[in-house]
């Protein structure tokens, strides 16, 4: 029943995203409209993929570091990706794919650095060190980003900031294809990690006694979540709150078992971002809001409600 509701919500969100837009397209003309085919449909599909990936990555990371605050950006990825993108803009890289690739590269560089720092204590990946390293690398990348932005031309500065707030304006079937080329593998790894993540929640020692290969699984989850986030950032900028709020909301509905939680987070994250992007496109038409602002405006009150429920329970 819950699954049916979630699937229906996803379908309704996608339908809304295709039907609504700043320009009026009559319902009958929707299937043949150029605007729907080249703009609205790829954008809705991409929003679904990105939102789902962020929520999935967030759910995985929260379980990995056993910290409810974890989200795909906590581990320095957004900082690294932002720095990559801003460097791309500052260096006037002209190719249409330069910005996404620079962001992807920056995100991966941050991931490698955080991973290396987290291993400093020895061979084991310590979740607490992972968080600290992520925060430190993220802060460092943000500082360098601000330095680059403050030294570049004022117009570029504004544009770099706009990009950092996230948006799906660059969506096309090409972007969808690129995203689909590298998102499924890390997503599949995360979905396969459902049982090890359940056991990891008991603590590393108990998980080891129950037969989980703790270290390899932690690494797999970490790399898969990072790759998924980097892919999302590359096509959409930094979209906050989806990866933080959606996994918590789904835990409230599905409980803590990852077998149902992970796919539910994917569906709900996709639905939420499709809706948020529709609001971003329509609310202040003909202007457009950065979608990250909409997810924050929706996400923070929802989060506050959840907090109230937990503290009351």
């Amino acid at each position: 029943m819950k699954w049916l509701g979630l699937a229906a919500a996803a379908m309704a969100a996608l339908a809304l995203a295709v039907a609504l837009g700043p320009t009026h397209v009559p319902l009958g003309a929707l299937p043949t409209s150029d605007i729907v085919r080249t703009l609205r449909l790829p954008r809705a599909v991409l929003a679904f993929g990105v939102g789902g990936s962020l929520a999935l990555a967030g759910a995985g990371l929260q379980a990995l570091v056993r910290n409810p605050l974890a989200d795909p950006y906590l581990l320095g990825l957004s900082g690294g990706a932002g720095l990559g993108a801003v460097l791309g803009i500052a260096l006037h890289l002209a190719s249409p794919w330069a910005l996404p690739l620079a962001a992807f590269g920056g995100g991966l560089a941050a991931m490698a650095l955080v991973y290396r720092l987290a291993l400093l204590g020895g061979g084991a990946l310590d979740p607490r060190v992972l968080i600290l390293a992520g925060v430190a690398v993220g802060a460092f990348a943000a500082a360098v980003t601000t330095a680059v932005v403050s030294l570049s031309e004022p117009a570029e500065l504004r544009n770099a900031l706009l990009w950092l707030w996230g948006g799906l304006s660059g969506a096309s079937w090409d972007t969808v294809l690129v995203f689909c080329a590298y998102a499924p593998l890390p997503a599949a790894v995360l979905l396969a990690a459902a049982r090890p993540l359940d056991l990891l929640a008991l603590g590393e020692e108990p998980a080891r006694h129950l037969g989980v290969e703790v270290e390899p699984w932690k690494r797999r989850v970490y790399f898969a979540a990072s790759l998924l986030t980097a892919a999302a950032v590359a096509v959409s900028g930094v979209i906050g709150f989806v990866g933080l709020v959606v996994p918590h909301a789904m835990r409230a509905l599905w409980g803590h078992r990852h077998r149902p939680l992970l796919p539910a987070a994917f569906l709900a994250g996709g639905t939420l971002l499709v809706l948020a992007d529709t609001v971003a496109r329509v609310a202040v038409a003909p202007r457009e809001l950065p979608v990250g602002i909409v997810t924050a405006l929706v996400g923070v009150p929802v989060f506050a409600l959840l907090l109230r429920r937990w503290t009351a329970g």
């Binding site: 320009t23 605007i35 703009l39 950065p290």
Partner: protein, 321 residues
């Protein structure tokens, strides 16, 4: 005082006949009266009034009153538009500092740069020992203007977003440099340019300044004014902001004939977004109807507005329809 005396012989203001009678009485009195009249005339014009100890007071675009002992001799300009204006007033040799973006006229490059202009280094500017600093009006610059004030360096903050701002700035800077007549005539010329839209060209254009997210120029901007002067229509004229992020769908629906982008001088190639698949939803992109506007002429309000409008008209007319 020195400023007023300097301005007097060229002053375009006719002396009322009643005053003329008095003026005949003696040369000393005549000078004083003429100075008084000229100063009063200035006071009536641009919010300036005589300072008690001589010199000049002006009220800038931030509402601050700034006093100068005499015409500015060492000016630091913290925006490219002001640098152009100072040269256009014939006071270019008095510039002792400029921004890294000041590239016109070519002689401006010989002036030492003090940095970016916005949120300037007060120390770097003060090191040029200026007797007048001109800043762009923005939140970032308000603190810097106060810092100059504390250092005893007169600093004025001028709006430079539209043609009318530039005309006002020309008149004000004319007075502050002792070239009131040049300033007034430049201001009048700029106002005249702004009052004369070109004959309709029948071209609807959109200025696209960024591609992801798409950012376009709205009605409250200099480029929108230039479009009107060139006889063209900005399809986003109804947006009150100077620029705004819009959806590609909106851009496709507004369906401009031509897309104008700012570029480096001489670069005639298409912007990178012209090849992106999602931009093909826009007719002008599919038809590759772009004009590339050199940034140094179009990127800021400039005394060369008439030239810029003519150039835009020429470029638009040359686009195959």
């Amino acid at each position: 005082m020195a400023l007023a005396r300097r301005a007097r012989p060229r002053s375009p203001i006719s002396v009322p006949s009643g005053v003329g009678v008095l003026v005949m009485r003696g040369s000393a009195q005549r000078t004083h009266l003429a100075v008084l009249v000229a100063t009063l005339a200035l006071a009536c014009r641009a919010g300036s009034r005589p300072a008690p100890g001589g010199g000049l007071r002006v009220v800038d675009d931030a509402g601050r009153t700034v006093a100068l002992a005499g015409p500015a001799r060492r000016i630091v300009s913290l925006s490219p538009a002001i640098t152009e204006l100072v040269f256009a007033l014939g006071a270019g040799e008095r510039l002792v500092g400029r921004t890294t973006w000041c590239d016109y006229p070519p002689a401006a490059r010989a002036v030492p740069s003090v940095g970016d202009g916005l949120n300037p280094s007060v120390e770097a500017v003060a090191a040029r020992r200026p007797d007048l600093v001109v800043l762009y009006r923005s939140t970032l610059d308000a603190a810097a203007a106060r810092a100059f004030e504390r250092l005893g360096i007169p600093a004025i903050v001028l709006r430079q977003d539209r043609l009318a701002d530039l005309a006002r700035a020309a008149a004000l800077l004319g007075r502050l440099t002792g070239r009131a007549r040049a300033g007034d005539s430049l201001a009048a010329a700029l106002a005249a340019v702004g009052a004369r839209p070109g004959p309709p060209l029948g071209v609807r254009l959109a200025f696209v300044t960024w591609d992801n997210p798409p950012v376009v120029i709205g009605g409250g901007s200099y480029l929108d004014e230039l479009a009107a002067l060139a006889g063209a229509t900005n399809v986003f004229h109804d947006l009150p902001a100077a620029s705004a992020a819009v959806g590609l769908e909106t851009l496709a629906a507004r369906d401009p004939d031509v897309i104008a982008v700012l570029g480096d001088s001489g670069a005639a190639e298409l912007p990178p977004f012209a090849r992106r698949p999602e931009w093909q939803a826009i007719r002008a992109v599919r038809a590759r109807r772009f004009v590339v506007l050199p940034g140094s002429l179009f990127g800021r309000p400039s005394p060369r507005a008439a030239l810029a409008a003519a150039e835009l008209r020429r470029l638009l007319a040359a686009v195959p329809r």
